[in-house]
Amino acid sequence: MTDKRTIRSEAKSEPDKSPRPAGADEKAALLAEIEDLRAQLQSARETARALIAREVDSVAQGAGDTPALLREAQAALREGQAQLRAIFEGALDGLVLMDGEGSFLEGNPAALEILGVSADELAGKTAADFVEVSPEDFEAGWSAFLEERHFEAEHVVVRPAGGQRRVEIRARANVSPGRHLAVLRDVTERRRLEETLRQSHRLESIGRLAGGLAHDLNNTLMVITGFTSLAQQGRPPSDPTQGHLEEVLRAANEGAELLKQLLAFGRRETLSPKPTTLGQLVASATRMTGRLLREDVELVVGHGADDVVVHVDPARVEHVLMDVLLNARDAMDGGGTITVDTAVESVGTDRKPGWETLAPGRYAVISVHDSGPGMAPETRRRIFEPFFTTKEAGKGTGLGLATVYGIIKQSLGHIECETEVGQGTTFRIYLPVEEEPAHGSAPSETATAGIDEVETVLVVEDEDAIRRFVVQMLRREGYRVLEAARPGDALLASEQEPGPIQLLLSDVVMPRMSGPELAKRIVAERPDTQVLFMSGYAADDLKETSDVKLLSKPFGPEELSAAVRRALDAGPKRLARP
């Protein structure tokens, strides 16, 4: 500035000098010309600056002697404007410009997409037209925004044509004079996925807790059941305590049943998977459920992929299907239609959150749709939680779908529920498809191979309660158990068993044939089978020799487990235990 001032004051004072020396006129004219050019240059520079800063309203077109600098500035401005326009139009986030009152002036395509309106529909509307907010609150919010010059929040945007989106909104005031910019980002999908992920983690931890608890309680119940049975056995039927013990057993069994469901939810239940077709599963479940349906409920069964083979425990999965079907029935108070169908879907590596446990591959899908009223999101979120029920007290344990979830997860599958109020509900059960073995081995061979992996124990005991206790205990330990109430049944079971039987666990005193006698006949057929007797009478026709082992009654789960293990380990063919 100082320099310019100096030059200008010189220029100004020069013409005033007098008397003028010769050639002064010429000099003065020259200086005036320089001054004029300077003014022109200053004006051009200033104009270019203002154009670039976008501080101008109009540009006179076709001006005769537009300086080159100005033409360049105009071109740069046009290019800059085109670029800004392209950025605005192409931005992946929604951009909306608002005037001082908050009315929308313009929105880019992403914003129109998020708000579900056309450019014309957007103009003149305010945020209050899309978000549920009272006029007063909007006014207050807008004033606060203008003051703070900044705004950030997440809102549910209600589209005028219907539908909702979760939108993250960030706004800045006065991006240009009197113009305010809001950036909109659709986070609907992200929030949904996060919720699903939270859900599955939640179920995961509840499952672990429930499973662990049930496991411990189950041991306690086994002891109660086992010893109650033994106590019963030790008394004559006329003993008045028999009735009491019966009640104890009944209560314990009820508890065990509940625990079994909890264990299933916690994925600690022993499953016996075998190749099964979807058609078999669906047919069996719908046959059983069909009888339980009211007349106003129609059951439609599709056969999309009935021949697909899955490797699951058919009894448990049928149970799962029945639970889902009955749930569908209960959802339709006023009658309706249940549609069951089968299909095959591929799951890739880009799995949704909550689906990570699914290995990529082909999955058999059984879908069950009901035309009921559907569920509210709060209900939907919790349906797989144990003890969550919408049924009135006493009508449901709240374990049905929790068990379903556990069994499906344990079968390496997934269950998904899609529902919307008024739209009905669809459950989809995903089960891994059993791919055809490369050498085309028959299913029976697969089954035999499976048997080889675990040790088989034949339990013979005429007292139902004790046999149940022992069988339950051994199954929980991971053994495959064949059971017989009478020696005759035991011989039959032995004959029909295609695989090896590693251990015969038998009572000693039984009607018609004693334990030792039975053992002799079975060992004659199966020389590798070990024998373990259980008896309340140590002095019975038995002598503890190196060949004959005895487990004395009463015994608890630990003693049983240890004795069975010892007996098996003494066998000729020890198998690696998992």
């Binding site: 500035m1 220029a11 100004k12 104009t47 004079p177």
Partner: protein
């Protein structure tokens, strides 16, 4: 020495309105009574704009004292205008 300013504007266009407002404030704040301001609307008097070689609006010209000095834009940067006035005072 009297300062003569001439502001070319384009009707009620936003930058023109802003420039008028800004100039009014600056003149008021200068507390001087020797400033003459003339507002020329290029829509109303396009001929004058041509004569003064006005290419864009808003444009502020300092007509007197000479030489002519130009500021283009909405005059949001008031210091530049003030400098224009102070300059005159000093000289």
């Amino acid at each position: 020495m009297t300062v003569v300013l001439r502001l070319y504007v384009a009707g009620k266009a936003p930058n023109s309105v802003a420039a008028r407002r800004a100039l009014k404030r600056i003149v008021e704040q200068s507390m001087r009574d020797d400033i003459e301001v003339e507002i020329v609307d290029v829509f109303a008097e396009p001929q004058r704009a041509m004569e003064d070689g006005i290419l864009v609006t808003p444009t502020l010209l300092r007509i007197s004292p000479g030489p002519t000095w130009t500021i283009v834009g909405n005059l949001a940067d008031g210091d530049r205008v003030t400098a224009l006035l102070e300059l005159v005072e000093e000289s």
